[in-house]
């Protein structure tokens, strides 16, 4: 037990994080490329067309994983932000800040592919469907978090203030989601509900799983890379930074 906690603290020390992340990033990047290649091959070539939607459903292989990632990353960001705020762990603050742009990007991709998917399915690019609307609001929440972080000059204060915002946001996300869904059911006339394919072929499921893993690996690699730069910036006066930079150049 005690050994484990020591290891954990080693990981939270900026210098150790910097080294460890530096070693891990290439692996995650390689996995990202491999999984994307396999997933896209399965999704575009191997998997059969949908009997109702034809080939257009294939956009699901991007849409669904990015939507999942967008939602999950917001929660993860709020958790890291809360840890940073309550226990004053600098690495957690850095992780929260590093996650935000990737989360926003994922959410944006989910919206974009959703609109592209909507065109052949519903005949229009945008419908005020409950899920799309919720994702749009989630994107606004990400943008608010990043804008607040950028607006405050003092690093510590920026982390703390945006942590409060992330925590308020994460409490609100379910409330927003349910109210939007409720609003949507009340205004049935305007929208067409998307039904998940009730019986999904095994190959479709496997492909979706691989694409989701690929999105995970991508997010981990990018977030770690961003956190690594942030660590360097924050610790630029520390001796370990000078040592590392000298050996690398």
């Amino acid at each position: 037990m005690s050994e484990r906690s020591i290891q954990w603290f080693r990981f939270t020390a900026p210098a150790n994080f910097y080294d460890l992340a530096g070693r891990l990033i290439p692996w995650f990047a390689a996995l990202t490329i491999a999984l994307f290649a396999v997933g896209l091959y399965l999704g575009l070539v191997v998997a059969p067309p949908d009997y109702q939607q034809g080939d257009s459903y294939r956009i699901m292989y991007i849409h669904v994983p990015t939507a999942w990632m967008g939602m999950f990353l917001y929660v993860l960001m709020a958790v890291y932000a809360a840890i940073g705020l309550i226990w004053r762990i600098k690495m957690a603050e850095i992780m929260a800040k590093a996650i935000a742009p990737t989360g926003a990007l994922m959410t944006f991709f989910a919206l974009w592919t959703g609109a592209l998917w909507g065109r052949p399915t519903w005949g229009v690019y945008w419908v005020w469907d409950a899920r799309l609307t919720s994702m749009l609001i989630l994107l606004f929440l990400y943008l608010g978090y990043m804008a607040l972080h950028a607006a405050i000059d003092d690093r510590q204060r920026a982390s703390n203030a945006s942590a409060v915002l992330a925590m308020v946001g994460v409490v609100n996300v379910p409330i927003i989601y349910f109210s939007v869904q409720w609003w949507n059911t009340l205004h049935q006339g305007a929208s067409i509900t998307v039904t998940d394919a009730p019986t999904m072929a095994t190959i479709m499921f496997v492909t979706l799983l691989i694409m989701t893993l690929a999105a995970w690996m991508y997010s981990i690699a990018v977030v770690l890379a961003r956190a690594r730069i942030e660590v360097l910036e924050r610790e630029r006066k520390a001796t370990w930074v000078r040592e590392r930079l000298e050996t690398e150049s």
Partner: protein, 222 residues
């Protein structure tokens, strides 16, 4: 304990009475925005009537948001907010008191003026009553959630615009429920579910938001 909270409430109301233009500006904004809608979408009475709940709610929401910047910034600038951190009362109760005063000054006048605008948009009497009731339940939520944004943008350049970005997404639930309540009455349905949820949301906001706001104030003054 209630004496010091009451003193704060009385001070904020006194200040508002000595500078009535601040509160009147918010009401004026509300009236002007609602009056602009028919000019933009045409004078057809039935069409306006069907849009009225949403228009009135969005305008009220924007008016509250516009007034939020003043919630803490005056106290921040002259140092009274700093002194409030040193007061024996929990900061959460102090910001709740200030938010309540803010609602009395800006939210309540919006509720009171809303029937006039509703008549302009051809709402019937029962719809107007529902509108006032929904606004009465909903505007405190707007002030409470808004207080978090007001605290988080203390002392920042362009704070007003930033508040909008931070807070408007969080305003979605009260907007849906509030406008939906009026809409339900308009279509002959019961608005009870809307009102119950709106009430529940207000109670939740009442207990949860002051602590977030207090934390934000402490951070921004740290």
């Amino acid at each position: 304990m209630f004496r010091s909270l009451f003193a704060l409430l009385r001070r904020d109301l006194t200040l508002a009475l000595r500078r009535p233009q601040d509160a009147l500006t918010v009401v004026g904004f509300f009236v002007v925005v609602v009056s602009l809608f028919p000019l933009g979408i045409g004078p057809d009475p039935e069409f306006l009537r069907s849009l009225a709940p949403g228009v009135l709610w969005v305008a009220a929401l924007l008016a509250v948001m516009l007034s939020l910047e003043r919630l803490f910034s005056d106290d921040y600038r002259d140092g009274t907010l700093e002194q409030m951190l040193l007061v024996p009362e929990p900061l959460g109760l102090l910001v709740l008191t200030k938010t309540f005063a803010h609602w009395l000054i800006t939210g309540l006048p919006l509720v009171l003026i809303s029937p006039l605008l509703a008549v302009q948009l051809n709402l019937r009497v029962d719809e107007i009553v529902m509108l006032m009731f929904a606004l009465l339940l909903g505007t405190p939520i707007l002030s409470l959630i808004g207080s978090i944004g007001a605290a988080l943008t203390l002392g920042l350049r362009g704070g007003g615009v930033l508040i909008a970005l931070l807070i408007l997404p969080l305003y979605v639930p009260p907007l849906i429920l509030g406008a939906g309540a009026v809409d339900a009455v308009m279509h002959g349905a019961s608005a009870q579910a809307h009102l119950s949820l709106l009430g529940a949301m207000m109670v939740f906001a009442l207990f949860a938001t002051p602590w977030a706001t207090a934390a934000a104030v402490r951070i921004m003054l740290d």
